[in-house]
Symmetry: C2
Subunit: 210 residues, 2 copies
Amino acid sequence: MTVLSYPEPVTVPARQARAVTLRAGQSVRITDVAGGQVGDVFAYNADDLSEHHSAAHTRTHTARLFPALGESFVTNRRRPILTYTADTSPGVHDMLIAACDPERYAAYGDPGHANCADNLRRAVTELGYAAPLFVPQPINVFMRIPVADDQTLSWLEAATAPGDSIDFRAEMDCLIVVSACPQDHNPINGARPTPLALTILPASSEENRR
Amino acid sequence: MTVLSYPEPVTVPARQARAVTLRAGQSVRITDVAGGQVGDVFAYNADDLSEHHSAAHTRTHTARLFPALGESFVTNRRRPILTYTADTSPGVHDMLIAACDPERYAAYGDPGHANCADNLRRAVTELGYAAPLFVPQPINVFMRIPVADDQTLSWLEAATAPGDSIDFRAEMDCLIVVSACPQDHNPINGARPTPLALTILPASSEENRR
């Protein structure tokens, strides 16, 4: 695996995605720069992209709709890939909803709109990997999809303030893709899509244990 | 697509799976023969197995954890593939939990146990298709996974009585795989795994509109 070094945070421009590689033990902090912005997060085994985070396996592993702080996300081979280690946001995240894709915006009558599925494919290939054959269910950080008693879902504006962040520790060498979701046909990203920032935290950093 | 004809119900033996093909407009009835048995259901476009039912896209489509009667399940291309047309069971089904697989039983210390992922691969290849590269999140009929207010999940015994059934109408020509879940390390299948039965209902049948 090629380990990339990022002394400064990586900006994920609004409506775009960026991919980074992490060694096991390193962490990534995802910061919502302006607040109210959802990030679609995908995690792959850096040595074999056929192994990736799986929401359905993670729910089975944690017996929750979304892991609690300190719990792990697992792959389609039921191995931990990321651990949810820190969170300065209101702690509301989603793992039920598919990444937006060309078909999603075509249905809104807005073909050609930026979308997280194309963003994923572009970011992975920019890092020299083959494009994934399908789009896994993402971890949707900061995304507010409450589940009502009757099991209906709602799409609400993200509740994050500027600078709120969430940290994930890599449990294996992995490729992480974060898309600053371009959705602007529903309220999830507030007034408009805005950037995110990624900071790689070394395994030994105090910062990593805040 | 080769259309198979089943004048009699197809038995899905306990712990095994069977695949059938449906023309658009035909329906399949899944009957819980002895009661208390979960079925893992997978649905593919019969002409292109890269298009298949997607739980994450279906939740986005219906804004529910599981479709209500009369609603449709959609594919990873956001096209309806099945519609939930009839149900004589208590109406409790799951679409959150991954299919059981070799890794699931290895973690129980029971390697080599029958599992729905291997059952899927076997049933698809027995019908002459290439084995799927990955296992989609299934529709788990009769499976009782309540979501508590704190978003925790529980694995409870299926509440179906002998002979209870659920019907799905095909919205495109499709390949349907049903695995009689072999899980016996938790209570979802009651005392022991038992068979299911599949009945193909023609598009024009009165029976299809019960």
